[in-house]
Amino acid sequence: MGKVILEVRELTTKYVTRFREDVYAVDHVSLKVEEGKSLGIAGESGCGKSTLALSLMGYYFPPLHYISGDIIIDGRNISGMKPDDVRKSILGREIAYIPQAAMNALNPTQKVIHFIEDVVQAHDPTKSKKEIYEMARTLFETVGLPASVLQKYSVELSGGMKQRTVIAVAVILGPKVLIADEPSSALDVTSQKMVIKMLRDLMESGFIKAMIFITHELPLLYNVTDDIMVMYAGQIVEKGTAREAVFDPLHPYAKGLMGSIIVPEEGLRSARLTAIPGVPPNLKNPPPGCRFADRCKYVRPECRVASVPMREVGEGRMYRCVLSEKELREAYQNG
């Protein structure tokens, strides 16, 4: 087992809607990412995965609010730190974030290099523009982006280029952890592949130590990350290696999710896709027991009583269900 770069313990956050309603989108989430590993987070829209990505940064501004839990990056707990300290010494340096719609993540009226200057100087005001330019140019060339991009405005870049530029800017300070929230969902497949390649290269070259990759596209996740967690209604419901999670899911929801994967590969045409009826619960007032209970084929009375804890089966393998592994497998066998 490698060195743990990022550890999150029982992190709970909420966001407040404009009608002043609290939405508990991240509910006691714990996770660990080891050095050189990447963790994928999968889930339907509205399950809280994007909120989780934001919460992991340890830097909160409305409408997101921190409630409890710890975030430990490379042994340093950042959840107790002052926001300005987090901003100065953590953001961008220790942990970096690639937003969901990276297309709009660059200030439209600013050249890329000027933004990089602002980023670098926000952490190290002593750096000269020339140094920063050199630094940026080197980085861009390393990741396969032409240096000319630096002198451009975001509107002058294509979608894929923009996305890769955002990633390059995000890692300019050499953060340990990279949190990528659906970085490729708006791109065509080729650009998507380039983005994934770039992320993989960054990991492999050790430029970033660990990555959390969030997407609803399971085949992509399977190809990008080492481990996969499945999120449902603000909670983690399943965790395992990518292979386990995709081919041998335990939680009934994960099972359903994986059964709906469509890839252009032989056998697919004859495969029967699974479907899960119903809709996820409203996170403004989630049910007391298992949050999947209403949609679960195997639901039992005890599911609805109290919150269901995670069960650990084997190293790093976990799921959240009242049924044991055996019971589940039997149930799946019987259809």
Partner: protein, 270 residues
Amino acid sequence: MAKRDQICLEARGLTKVFGFGRNRTVAVDHVDLTLYEGEVVSIVGESGSGKTTLAKILLGLINETEGEVYFQGKKRDIRSYRRKQEYWKNIQAIFQDPFSSYNIFNKIDTVLLDCIHMRGGRGLPHAQKVEMMAEACRFVNLKFEELTNKYPFELSGGQMQRLMIARIFLLKPKILVADEPTSMIDACSRATILDMLMQLRNEIGMTVIFITHDIGLAYYVSDTVYIMERGRFVESGSADKVILTPSHPYTKRLISDVPKIYEEWDLSTV
């Protein structure tokens, strides 16, 4: 499944040009297309390839710049709005975004009621109309009683898209153009939608044109696949042939760039 005997819709040299002068862009470029009755055809292309434009031309929602469309052997004539209304009795659509497909100011059942009216049921007694709507809802696994008096925003995306299928169930068109009907739907609901579509196709024997960017999805649902790039069809044929043994470089690239789970996804080809 495909009967492959009767040509249902045929397009010859279909072209759509937007703008003029230097702003001229050719969205659809001399496309030929033959649809047989009862067949499921996928048109696969990336964003900007012109597939949605093509779908709208076939639907008669926008006018082609050049080329002809033959419907059931006859040249399609939709020059007046009245003729278009006739044409639309035979061809229907499901759109990508269920949230923008509904008029948010109308109650759900008006969508279904419109269909009954369109099929000449305007004069039917109310109870019969309700029964027809309830039947359509049952077909897509929705409870009509729960839907009446509801507004679209009170439904989930999956439910809305199912209701769209119910609509088709009532209209029973010859051709259905499904423009990315599942791309805005969560993975777990996707299967339901697709299953219902296929079931409907089987029941009323309509032809389905499936527009999608997801090559896997196209493979999953269709008999015939057309690959579209920059307004042109670059490759077409049976689903198995096109997906499993692509011949055109574009098709090859497209397939190789999609992440897979059984085969190795080769990142080195970027």
